[in-house]
Structure formats: structure tokens, C-alpha cells
């Protein structure tokens, strides 16, 4: 083991890449080989054997992974949330009491609530407006691609992009390199130290998430609008409805189901937001949210009790949203 450590220090990046790609190639080959072999063997067995083999090959692997990777951890996290930092003694509801009484954590919960309210609302509103404005445009492709592009950028990348925009120059004699400060100065204002000053900084972080999610809302809602029959829109026009009226009276009611899906999808994404806060402020300066605090508790403070309790709070917040989606899906099924 010691020898290995000394040897490891001399490895060049190329050595590491070589080793990693050997593992990569063998993993992919092994995976492919297992599947091909299973198919060859199973395909040659008799009809009766295939009747039960098919469950084993097609269904069991995925179910097993879901059982080990999602169902078991959920139960385990629930148990851990009632235990102390090292998961040795039961402490009852202490971790939950902690979460709802310690001022710093109350701030975290409050921030998360602000995020969950503002991000879905703003992204959907902006995305919806753009979708409506470009709905009848001849060539909306470029506009849509530009607004959709942030979806392809990682939250970490977006964090760097926006940290640069929010960059603050404390020395008055030096030129600003942050765009936002420069704009404020151009109009004669004095820029604040953007990311350090609460509560403004939370809204600046929220803007980043809105920037990313708007494209998603726009694309999905725009597709839904294309399904609104032209006849209905034309009839509304003949009745003398202004574009604004048409928007509220015709378009929105027609795409209501999709609007709900977009909102719930963004709500779930926002509840789990972690990377943006972590890269931009590290959760400091009163900007922290549940997902990031959960990480800090579990992996920095090494307190599995409080970390698990925060994860469960997150879980409980998501349940009603998904439950609503499942219900919608079931309704749709029965209609079909």
C-alpha cells in the first residue's frame, strides 16, 4: 500500500488517463459481452424457459438497482435522520427540531422557499412570453437557440459566467471588469458588493437559475402552442380580441396542462439546486439553500443525522409535486 502511494506520485497525467481508459474499455466490453451472451443463450432455450428468463434479463436488473440505489437508501436516510452525528444513538426528533430552530438553518429554509417560489414563476412567465412572441414569427430559430443555450451549460459553468458578471472592484481607481458594476456606474450609481450583501445576493443567484430554466419553459410551451388549432385563434381574432386578450383567454387555457408540467418540473429542479450556490457564494453571506446545507452537514461537518434530516425535509417538500404529476398521469391513462 505504501509502495503504491509513492509510485502513484510519479504518475503523469497520461499514465492516469491510460489507466482510466483501460478500466473504461474493459467495463464497456464486459457490459456488452454479458448482454450479447445473455441474448445468445436465452434465445436458444425453449419457449417455456424463455417465459421466465425474460423477466430475469429485462426487468430484474433495473428493479434490483432501483431497490438498492433508491428504495433502500430512502429507508436508511429516514432512520439516520433520527440518529446522532455518527449514527450510533437514536435522538428522536432532535435533528428536525434543530433544523427549524437554529437561526442559520431557518435562513436556509427561508431562502429555499424564496427560490422555489421565484424561479418557477419567473422562468415560466418569461419563457411563456417569448414563446408567444415568437409563435407567429417567420424565423424564430436563432432567438430560441440563444435563449435555450444555457440549458446545455453546467450549473458550475453558469456559476463562473455570472460571477464574472457580478464581479465587484473594491478599488475605485481601477476599472470595473464586472458588467453589472460597469452598467450601474454608467448610469451614475454606486455598485454594491453584489454577492456579499444580503438579501440582494440571493436574488442575484436566483437570476442565474431563471436564466437557465427560461429556455426549457420556452421550448416546451412553444411546442404546446403549436398544437393550439389555428381556427380557434382566427375565430378569436375575428371576434376582435387583441393579442393580449387572446393570450389570456385562448392561449393560456389551451396549454394549461403543459404549463403545470413545466412549473412542477422547474419546482423540483429548484428544490435540488446545489451547484449554483456552491460555486457562487459557497452558501455564505446568507445565501444558503437546503441542498447545499445538506451537503455541508453530511460531508463537511460529517453529521449524518442533521444531513439526513435536511434530505428528508427536501423529500417531503417534493412529494406533493410528484404526487400531483402521478395523479395527472393516471387521469390521462384512463381517458385514453
Amino acid at each position: 500500500m505504501m509502495q503504491f502511494a509513492i509510485f502513484a506520485e510519479r504518475k503523469t497525467p497520461w499514465d492516469i488517463i491510460g489507466e482510466n481508459f483501460t478500466l473504461l474499455a474493459s467495463a464497456l466490453l464486459a457490459f456488452a459481452a454479458v448482454i450479447v451472451l445473455l441474448f445468445l443463450v436465452a434465445g436458444r432455450t425453449n419457449v417455456k424457459a424463455q417465459e421466465w428468463l425474460k423477466y430475469l434479463v429485462f426487468l430484474v436488473p433495473a428493479l434490483l438497482l432501483l431497490l438498492i440505489g433508491l428504495i433502500y437508501p430512502t429507508i436508511r436516510t429516514i432512520i439516520l435522520s433520527f440518529m446522532d452525528a455518527k449514527s450510533e444513538n437514536f435522538v428522536g426528533f432532535d435533528n428536525y427540531v434543530w433544523a427549524f430552530t437554529i437561526p442559520e438553518i431557518v435562513v436556509v429554509l427561508r431562502n429555499t422557499a424564496v427560490w422555489v417560489f421565484l424561479v418557477p414563476f419567473l422562468s415560466t412567465a418569461i419563457g411563456l412570453s417569448i414563446a408567444y412572441m415568437t409563435d407567429r414569427m417567420k424565423r424564430p430559430t436563432v432567438i430560441k437557440s440563444l435563449i435555450f443555450m444555457p440549458m446545455a451549460i453546467s450549473f458550475v459553468g453558469a456559476g463562473v459566467i455570472w460571477r464574472f458578471v457580478y464581479n465587484f472592484e473594491p478599488n475605485e481607481n481601477r476599472a470595473d471588469i464586472g458588467l453589472l458594476s460597469a452598467i450601474v456606474k454608467f448610469f451614475g450609481g454606486t455598485p454594491p458588493n453584489w454577492l456579499l450583501e444580503s438579501p440582494g445576493n440571493t436574488y442575484l443567484l436566483i437570476a442565474v437559475m431563471v436564466w437557465i430554466q427560461t429556455g426549457f419553459a420556452m421550448v416546451v410551451l412553444s411546442a404546446a402552442m403549436k398544437n393550439v388549432p389555428d381556427e380557434i385563434v382566427e375565430a378569436a381574432m375575428l371576434d376582435g380580441a387583441t393579442p393580449i386578450k387572446r393570450f389570456f383567454r385562448v392561449t393560456i387555457p389551451m396549454i394549461r396542462a403543459t404549463l403545470v408540467v413545466v412549473l412542477t418540473t422547474i419546482i423540483i429542479g429548484t428544490l435540488k439546486v446545489f451547484d449554483i450556490v456552491r460555486t457562487m457564494t459557497g452558501g455564505n453571506f446568507q445565501t444558503n439553500v437546503i441542498a447545499n446545507e445538506m451537503y455541508s452537514q453530511a460531508f463537511r461537518q460529517m453529521n449524518y443525522g442533521t444531513g439526513s434530516a435536511l434530505a428528508i425535509i427536501l423529500f417531503v417538500a417534493i412529494i406533493p409535486v410528484i404526487a400531483y404529476n402521478v395523479r395527472q398521469l393516471r387521469l390521462e391513462r384512463t381517458e385514453r
Binding site: 430512502t74 396542462a257 428528508i312
Partner: protein
């Protein structure tokens, strides 16, 4: 024929009536505002180090000085403790390929079973899997990490042994696979269940078993849906931070690029010359994939969300 020409004309006329110059102008303004932050970062990344840190990127156009030194520096200069970014680029590749291929394969299998095998409780199982999306990543982190590190024992009985895989890619691959399954199965099931019943029945009558049926009919017909989800999963894995950070066990030999960039932001918040270039290196592949395959990506998104 004439009727369809007439409707096309009517639609075109309707389009002209509806398109308003003000709406177009507003849409264009929003699009430009949306692009400026990324554009500013791109411009900065090709400016000399001294200029990035002393003047705004918009002055570049008055005084264009192009230098690729930042990319050279961030990609190839490094130490043993802080390897150069190109190593992390390959790490990202090695993380992403299996983390895309494994879940899609297993999800196509499961979606096929859930759509075309007749067994009791099939619908309940399907809704159960769909509902598993409720489990946030955060919830599974600690137990799953312990599972990878120690295996699973109940009393003296070992259910899953400790495989000693911590610090390799394997936990990251498995974690990504597990977290992708509920959505992947749901989306692919939507598609696979819509294969015409006659097609499946005809093949069955011809004597095709469940395995032949899958490889000769279901798989070829599912290619578009698989392609859509592939792009989706690729972007998700490549851009992920949380899974790479926690399941990589802090090892630089497996950490993907996002982990490295996040670390650079934390430790050298002011080194914009490396940060801008580094961020762009990490964004290059997803942006290329995005612009090249946007149509399929959109299709994948829509499969999951538009109803009706």
C-alpha cells in the same frame, strides 16, 4: 391537393397577420441579453491575462488583443496535486460514456418488459417507478456511499460484500445509472408502449420469442427515443457536479471537469484568466452536442413534458 395548398396559404396569411414587429424586437432584445454573459466570458478567455484583470471585456472591441495563452495555461500546466485540466477532460469522458450507456440499456430493457409482458401488478410497478423520481439525489447520497465503502451487512450476514471500488469510476457509474433509471424508463416506456400491437402479434405468430422480438422489432423501432434520451443523459452527466464530487471520493484521478472548475472558483476566485478559459473548455463539448443535435434534444424534452 388543392385543399391542402389552400390551408397552407391560409396559415401563411395568418402568420403574417399575427407577427408583430414590436413582439419580434422584444424577443430579439431578450435573446441578446440572454447571450451577453456567455459571450463576455468567451471574449475574456481569449484576452491576455493582464487585460482581463484590469479592464472590462467590452473594451476588447476598441483594443482587440487576442491570446490563447490562457487555454494553454489552464489545459496543460499543472502539478501532481493540481493536475492540468486536460486530465480532467478525459476523466469527464470516462465518467460520461458508461454513465450514459448503462442506464439507457437497462431502461430500454425494463421499458420493454413493462410495456409488453403480461404480468400481475404491471401498472402498479410502472407508476411506482415513475414515482421514484420523488427521491432526490441528496436522499440517497449517504446510504449509497456507505454501501460502496462497506458493503451491506445485516447482523453477521453479508448481503453485499465490500468490493473495494471506492476511488474508482465504478461508484460514479453505478450512481448515475441508478439516478437516471426512473426518468429513462418512463420516457422510453411512453414510446415503446406505442408500437402497434399488430406488429408485435404478427412477430409472435411467426414464432418470435421475447428475445427475438426485442432485438428484431422493439430495439430498431426505439432508436429515435433512445437517441433523444441519450443526448439528455449525456448533458446531465457531463454537467453534473454532485455525483462526481461525492462518489469520486475526492480523488483527482477520477474527478470530472465540473469538480475541478468548482474547486478553482473556490481557491482562486480572482484568477479570471484561468477561470474563463477553464469554464469554456468544460462547456465546449455540451455546446457542440447541443447545437448539432438540438432537434433531438428538444424532442426528448417534449416526450417528457408535453401532453395532448
Amino acid at each position: 391537393m388543392t385543399a391542402s395548398v389552400a390551408t397552407v396559404r391560409a396559415k401563411r396569411r395568418a402568420k403574417n397577420i399575427f407577427s408583430s414587429p414590436i413582439a419580434s424586437a422584444v424577443a430579439w432584445i431578450i435573446a441578446v441579453v440572454w447571450t451577453i454573459p456567455t459571450f463576455g466570458l468567451l471574449v475574456s478567455s481569449i484576452r491576455p491575462e493582464k487585460e482581463i484583470n484590469s479592464s472590462g471585456w467590452w473594451t476588447f472591441f476598441a483594443n482587440p488583443n487576442v491570446s490563447f495563452e490562457n487555454y494553454q495555461k489552464v489545459l496543460f500546466e499543472g502539478t501532481t496535486t493540481n493536475p492540468p485540466l486536460f486530465q480532467f477532460f478525459f476523466n469527464s469522458l470516462a465518467v460520461t460514456l458508461p454513465a450514459v450507456i448503462f442506464p439507457i440499456t437497462l431502461a430500454v430493457f425494463a421499458a420493454y418488459a413493462l410495456a409488453w409482458f403480461d404480468f400481475k401488478g404491471r401498472d402498479t410497478l410502472f407508476f411506482g417507478i415513475f414515482a421514484l423520481q420523488v427521491v432526490p439525489l441528496q436522499l440517497a447520497l449517504v446510504p449509497l456511499l456507505q454501501l460502496f465503502a462497506k458493503g451491506l451487512q445485516i447482523g453477521d450476514f453479508t448481503i453485499i460484500p465490500d468490493f473495494g471500488i471506492t476511488g474508482t469510476y465504478i461508484p460514479i457509474w453505478i450512481a448515475h445509472t441508478i439516478f437516471a433509471l426512473p426518468l429513462a424508463i418512463f420516457l422510453l416506456h411512453n414510446f415503446i408502449s406505442q408500437i402497434p400491437r399488430e406488429l408485435i402479434e404478427a412477430a409472435r405468430v411467426d414464432g418470435a420469442g421475447p428475445f427475438t422480438l426485442f432485438s428484431k422489432i422493439v430495439l430498431p423501432l426505439s432508436v429515435p427515443a433512445i437517441a433523444s434520451f441519450l443526448i439528455f443523459q449525456f448533458l446531465w452527466v457531463w454537467n453534473d457536479l454532485l455525483v462526481g464530487l461525492t462518489f469520486g471520493a475526492g480523488s483527482k484521478e477520477v474527478a470530472p471537469m465540473t469538480v475541478r472548475i468548482a474547486e478553482m472558483v473556490g481557491t482562486r476566485g480572482s484568477g479570471w484568466e484561468v477561470l474563463t478559459a477553464g469554464a469554456f473548455v468544460s462547456m465546449a463539448v455540451p455546446l457542440i452536442v447541443f447545437f448539432a443535435l438540438q432537434r433531438y434534444f428538444v424532442r426528448g424534452l417534449l416526450a417528457g413534458s408535453v401532453k395532448g
